[in-house]
Symmetry: C2
Subunit: 555 residues, 2 copies
């Protein structure tokens, strides 16, 4: 990266100007350490794409330098890219016990668990990688066992917060380690990378305790079945549901593959306590009186194939939502998912359920796992960094976070608002932005991984306007037509196409004759000319621009 | 509708369980009166579709009964379907002066203004249609000249509120007509249809005056250019921007076709007062010092082709957003548009602008035009209806509105939560739900209007997984191949396709041989068999399911 071996470089391959696919790197001398390797879910404009992961070209080109992947916690936007990453760059993965549990599930699915090197660490661990000494501090978030990372480099200390909030009464009693964070700040922080998700939201994040209180009241009032939907990884929230079920003598059934899997990991590894005999199989739900049943399920983001969506449309075999049942959406909708979530709420109302929902904390059934403005200011105040890079957020969030940093003493000009791929170097405790490395999106589409440029371009055109083919069967010898041209369309004109099919064939023949008479006949010449004249013809008749595909068969 | 000529029927063809394409109807004896005829904008799942309008099959079948279209106000979800409707059913359109101005723009575009019958009414007008006497009352909303409608039928009075809120200090001084509404309630309301958009939101809608105060403060503080983006139809908001510009001695430029058009209608018809000499052409913007310029533009919903989006990416020729400029988003994002709006905010921050935005009323730059829960309860309290149909809202909103109605005295069981097409009949002052008429979505796709069932199905499959064609050129005589099968794909596999093209051709030939040897050869047989075996082959190799299209050419 730098010609100078004594500079430390910092860059992101994902996570800047986006929520998702977090991947940050610290490079010093001959060593690169990666922090997190997440995925991002495609929006509807990425037709057919399954996942988005970071472009790791730079790392593959410098593969001998890459020494470790440290994972701060087990959310998809921090671990979802790991299988793809390890297939290219098989370095040791350092993560906490719970996080490793989730990573193992993923590697098993991709059938690469055996050849992967997973190393369990906790907040007291120390790592030495080249000239970097690395240690950790506990933070509180919406999944167990999260930490921030401190890199002690010869240039100074660099801190990455992970995802965090300061909750004084978290459900699992594990709050962010104020004392250690204060000590790190006192030792001196050259550069802080801190997450920005809620940098637009004023005040403090409400405590998880609020959710417990609302759950308890709702469980006490509910007359029939209770269905609670949340993220499978939100073990604190699940523990609170278990507690509320216990207080009201209800059994608990789990619906949804990831709910079953993650609860198993959490119970096996001691992060979730479920009383003996509380868990029932989904087949037993209908054997119990409804007031004895709680169902915990996936689908809080409105995912169309998840349990909640299927329950809301009466398509979950063996389990029905009936009038008077209570359904709690104990998770806020992620931006972009609002419409999917509200359509499920609509369906649940149609079934007669009592639905408890609401964005943010309005329903009392959800609090964010990401610190609001005062949480972020507290982290900045405790860390007292000289330099600051706001990470994990869209551009406006990074911008707000910079203003927060300046309001608590970070000097103007010492905050870097970066894009993925921008490199900041620090040397002699002076930071400056230097070069840019490749850092676009890599798409996973079925079995293929790449930029999918042409595939997406074609899918977009066809999805808007459809496709129209003209097939010409011609003599190899003299280029004469051997049969009437055939036309064929998909996604274009339900009814009206037949109206002008004849004109289209006439037009095609006319073009062909002209070209042959002018002796300018060539396969490509024919295709080009046909495309242009058919496109004009179709647009004038229909105001649509389907993909025009002339196919020449020579016999 | 009813065999019984003395019953009044009420139904919606759009607007129930959705926000958009509002269209309601009152039928008595031989007369049908339509209220509103809106469109709805497609979400991203409706690939390539331009607009959604109501299915008017029932009206076309009963065309001799349809006597009038009454339009409550000029928003797209109330007028956007009119050109399509009038092309089928050319009845007189009754609307206020401002609403007619907007309808005229639309009919001009569709080139049917001349043959349309537009009738101007105001809140004092009386109409007689068959045995129905119809009059109107003013309501306040986010566009000028709105009203509710009262149908005096032999069965009793039916009231449709239109879209409304109760704002005591509206920008245009025209608040909802409390006195007339109170009188209507005293006369007795058999059935109320009232809008439900904000039935989930507690309290009262904030007053438009709040926006004026925030605009004034922001205009006074701004050092450079100010850009304000809002709905072109929100003339009150535009008036407030004009007022703020006047107080701070700024000129005003309009960007965006609909902004220019609607401001012209509003000024011509006396709904907007702009001081002489304030309006400048966009070409003059750069001639003035930036602190003398206000720009009013379209694109507050993040529409990718509108002025604000182009400004935010530096693609508006001749106008640049520069560091220190102030950009105000004076409109809330409509559900589903949040992501488009925030991505514009992100881009504006990258340009260095000071951006004032926020959902709902958090920025102080927007208040909703739709009444919150207390507004809705006040309407119900003043109208005192016997029966109630909540309209204009998604299912959960209708449900909340029913609870509000019951909380202010509507008897349980007297509220009808309907779907589009459900018919309620009232006879001898007894209401009950009876039959159901067709009421699906009709799509506008370029020049075609219809259900677009097959077109959409094909677009969806191709947009997810692409398309794969196998072209077989065969002898008409004996069905033997005359050339190697050709394969051809779009939107499927960027790089890996070539890896298995050979296997695919081998598979194709093998299938063909088997069919021909088994003497089961037929065109359809070949196509079916090829589709199945290629689909299986492709899925096993790629985990994708492209549309498989075998094409047989016989020469």
């Amino acid at each position: 990266m730098s010609a100078n071996q004594t500079a430390v470089s910092i860059f992101a391959l994902g996570g800047l100007n986006e929520i998702g696919k977090n991947m940050y790197a610290i490079e010093y001398g001959n060593d690169i350490v990666i922090i997190d390797c997440g995925n991002k879910f495609p929006d509807e404009s990425l037709l057919g794409i399954d996942l988005i992961i970071a472009d790791t070209t730079y790392l593959v080109e410098n593969i001998e330098k890459v020494k470790a992947l440290i994972v701060t916690h087990g959310h998809e936007d921090h671990i979802g890219g790991i299988p793809f990453f390890l297939k290219n760059i098989n370095v040791p993965v350092y993560a906490s016990r719970f996080t490793l549990g989730l990573i193992e599930l993923k590697l098993k699915e991709h059938k690469i668990l055996r050849e992967s090197k997973l190393v369990e660490i906790d907040s007291n661990s120390d790592l030495n990688i080249g000239e970097m000494k690395i240690n950790f501090f506990k933070v509180n978030h919406s999944i167990p066992d999260c930490f921030g990372v401190v890199f002690h480099t010869p240039e100074g200390n660099i801190v990455h917060t992970g995802d965090f909030k300061f909750d004084l009464t978290p459900a699992n009693k594990e709050h962010s380690d104020f004392h250690k964070i204060a000590r790190i700040g006192e030792e001196g922080v050259l550069l802080l990378l801190s997450e920005s998700t809620n940098a637009e939201r004023k005040g403090w994040t409400p405590s998880e305790q609020m959710v417990a209180e609302h759950l308890d009241v709702t469980f006490m009032k509910a007359e029939y079945k209770i269905v609670v939907s949340t993220f499978a990884s939100n073990v604190s929230r699940i523990q609170q549901v278990v507690n509320a079920a216990q207080k009201t003598n209800r059994k608990l059934a789990l619906l949804g593959r990831s709910m079953v899997n993650v609860v198993k990991v959490a119970m096996d590894r001691g992060y979730l306590t479920v009383p003996d005999g509380m868990l029932i199989d989904q087949k037993e739900i209908n054997d119990l009186p409804p007031e004895k049943v709680t169902i915990l399920c996936t689908g809080s983001q409105g995912e169309s194939l998840a349990a909640l969506a299927r329950l809301s449309t009466g398509n979950f075999r063996g389990v029905d939502i009936l009038p008077g049942d209570t359904v709690i959406l104990a998770a806020g909708p992620i931006p972009g998912n609002e419409k999917n979530v509200t359509s499920i709420v609509d369906n649940l109302y149609e079934l007669g359920a009592n639905v408890i929902y609401g964005s943010g904390s309005t329903s009392g059934m959800h609090v964010s796992g990401h610190g609001y403005q005062e949480d972020l200011k507290l982290m900045l105040t405790l860390m007292k960094p000289k330099y600051f890079i706001p990470i994990h957020g869209e551009h406006r969030m990074l911008h707000h976070h910079r203003m927060l940093a300046e309001s608590v003493g970070v000097e103007k000009g010492n905050t870097f608002i970066l894009n993925n791929g921008d490199v900041v170097e620090i040397e002699n405790t002076k930071a400056h932005q230097t070069t840019k490395i490749p850092a676009g999106n890599t798409y996973v589409d079925g079995g293929e991984v790449g930029t999918m440029e042409f595939v997406l371009r074609d899918r977009r055109q066809i999805s808007e306007d459809g496709m129209l083919m003209i097939i010409l069967t011609m003599s190899k010898a003299d280029g004469k037509l051997l049969a009437e041209p055939e036309t064929f369309s998909r996604g274009f004109m339900d009814k009206r196409f037949s109206e002008f099919r004849k004109d289209l064939i006439k037009l095609t023949k006319k073009n062909l004759n002209e070209l042959q008479e002018g002796k300018k006949y060539s396969r490509n010449g024919v295709k080009k000319q046909l495309k242009r004249s058919i496109r004009e013809f179709i647009y004038s008749r229909t105001k649509k621009e389907p993909m025009i595909v002339p196919i020449l068969i020579e016999v």
